[in-house]
Every structure is written in C-alpha cells, then in structure tokens.
Symmetry: C2
Subunit: 200 residues, 2 copies
C-alpha cells in the first residue's frame, strides 16, 4: 500500500464494471482440486478471488486512516511505525526494522519526523545502553488511537456482520498466508502477551 489517498473519483457505476470487460479469463485451469474432493476452495477461481479480496480489503482498510494522516502531513509509513510502537512499547529500532521490512534509512526518516513532532520518545535501554527504546508519547498515543478508531469502524462492522465463527476462520487463513517469522511474532506477542521486559 502506497500513498494512494485520492479523493475518490466518484465512480458512476458500481466500480469499473463497464459492460465491455469480457468473460473471466481461464477459470478452467484448476490444478490442485483435481486430487482432493473436499478441497473445492482450492480451485483457481477461488484463489483468484482471494487475490482480489486481499487487494481490496487492504486498500480500504489502510485507506481508512488516510484522512487523518494527510491533515497532519504524515503518510502510511508513519502510521505503520506508530502502530507497531504502540503494540510494542519499548521496542528497539532493529526490531522495528525487522517487522516493517524496510531499510534503516527509510525508518530513520519516518522516526525523525515522529520524534520531532513529539509523537515518539526514545529512551536508552538500561540493560543495553546502545539501544534507543521506542515508545509513544501521550500525543503519540492519542494520534495512534485516532487512526485506530478509523480502522476499527471498518473492522467491527465486518466482524459483526460475519460473526464469530467467520472471524476465527479469517484469523486462521491470515495466519496461514503470512510467513513463519510473522506467525512466530504474533504467537509470541499474542495470547499470553510478551514478557514484561525482564531478564536483563
């Protein structure tokens, strides 16, 4: 998701469904389902649909916060940083880098802005004083919460409509899509919550 925050060109039709887009391409080729009977959801058209779902859901989910971001002159990169600092108070820079999968310089730019505008605070680690542990200031927490609220609207609506069982399925599939490391990260920080800082 890049910085696509345009003022919604008011699609006259439903959404680019002109009467001219021909038939759906090659839905006949469905490799894996030929072996498994109960695995109809692995047919090609089902998987193609999943591609669309991921694109649209992510596009609109991230887009939900854009209004606030742009009025503050921030971008999505800032939002991502805020989010993961909020989720992991006291996270180190290198850990945040590993999560975001961007380079040090990209993060530095974002972090400089966030610190400069008083949203993020850096405190040296007491166990390892080279580290600059990142936390949100009160202003940062407020901002992050505003952004979160926007996304929450979409999410709660979706969750409520779909119901608890669907939500459970959603989570299972999403976990499956992401890679091993991300799954491990979520497990570590998820159910039991990360250990409150000790060990040093």
């Amino acid at each position: 998701m890049s910085g696509q925050r345009n003022p919604q060109p008011a699609p006259r039709e439903t959404m680019g469904r002109s009467p001219f887009n021909g038939h759906r391409g090659g839905a006949d080729v469905n490799g894996p389902s030929s072996t498994a009977g109960s695995l109809l959801f692995l047919r090609e058209d089902e998987l193609r649909l999943a591609q669309d779902l991921l694109f649209f859901a992510y596009r609109d989910f991230t887009g939900a916060a854009d209004v606030i971001l742009r009025e503050l002159g921030l971008g999505r990169a800032h939002h991502r940083a805020l989010h993961f600092i909020a989720r992991n108070p006291g996270i180190t820079v290198s850990d945040l880098l590993a999560i975001l999968r961007i380079t040090k310089q990209s993060l530095a730019r974002v972090l400089t802005a966030l610190v400069g505008q008083g949203y993020v605070a850096q405190v040296p680690g007491r166990a390892d004083r080279r580290q600059r542990l990142l936390t949100l200031t009160v202003a940062g927490q407020t901002l992050e919460r505003r952004l979160y609220e926007r996304q929450r609207e979409r999410l709660t609506a979706a969750y409520r409509e779909a119901g608890g069982a669907a939500v459970e399925g959603f989570r299972r599939v999403m976990r499956g899509i992401m890679n091993e490391n991300a799954r491990a990260y979520l497990e570590a920080s998820g159910p039991a919550g990360p250990q409150p800082a000790q060990r040093g």
Copy 2:
C-alpha cells in the same frame, strides 16, 4: 502496497522479538464488547490483532511475487495492473483506474512499460472507439501466471491448513472490510461471472 522489495535482511531472531519489548499497551480499553456478551471478538485486543494480521498477510502475500518482478525490472504496480487486466480482459483504462485508485499518470507509466515490453495489448473499442481496451498478450498471460503461481503457493497452504469453513469465514470478513464499491465489483464479477459484453 508500496514498492517494498528488499532482499530480506535475514532476521537472526524469529522476528524482532527481543526480550525487551515491554508489555502490550493498553488492552484494557475495550469499548464495544462491554455491551454485547457474545461479541468477545470485538474487544480491543482482538481488533488490534486484526491490524497485525492484515499487515503481515498482505506484506508476505504481495512479497511472494517480488523475486520474479525484480528480475524483470517491474514493480508491484505492474503486477497489480497485470492482475486486474487478466481478471477483466478488455477492461477500459478508466475502469482500471477506478479499481486501482491511482491517478491516470501513474497508470500511464505502468501501462506504457507493460505495452512496450509486450505484456499488454490495447485495442480500440468497437462500440466506443475512444476506448483502448486492455488485454494481456500471450507473454503477458504467461508472466501473470508465473506471478500468480507464487502467490498461489502461500494461498493454497493457508487454505488447506485452515479448512473450508475457515476459508468461508475469511471471505466473509474480507468482504466486510472493503468498501461498498469493491464489494459490488466482486459480486458483479464473482459468482455468475461478468456478462460477456452485451447490453451496449
């Protein structure tokens, strides 16, 4: 989805879970669940998790195709265009714009490259000759399929692990997250397939 295609900095640890990232922030504030008993999945920490899920799943799903893209000197913008042209052969430029939600110029750049390299063909509409209906050439279909296969691996693994019921739930939630227009688009092009060109 921005252009983040970095060569995977080989995270030593699982993924940035140093023992120092303190406790999970403010999971006490859970607004909506206070009213509804059965809607436990609307608690704040559940919704926060959903944010993470969307980030990681999307990151890794789109990242799956990056290897191929970068060896061809293409970016994710090209992939997105290829995907939606493949899904909607004969789509108009303006319809594609409405789907991707980018500006004409951004699409033009991508499209110029794809046409120039022989992946996309433009044919004037016979009903409205101003239109340049977009289709994939054979090379374009081949490339799009290569990219698709990469994503398919992740997807089939996830779907298979999660099972059919979970997949159904996944779809329901994802549809709920996206906006009205996107839902309508998927409905129009989904189950029955788009009407093969008539009505004009």
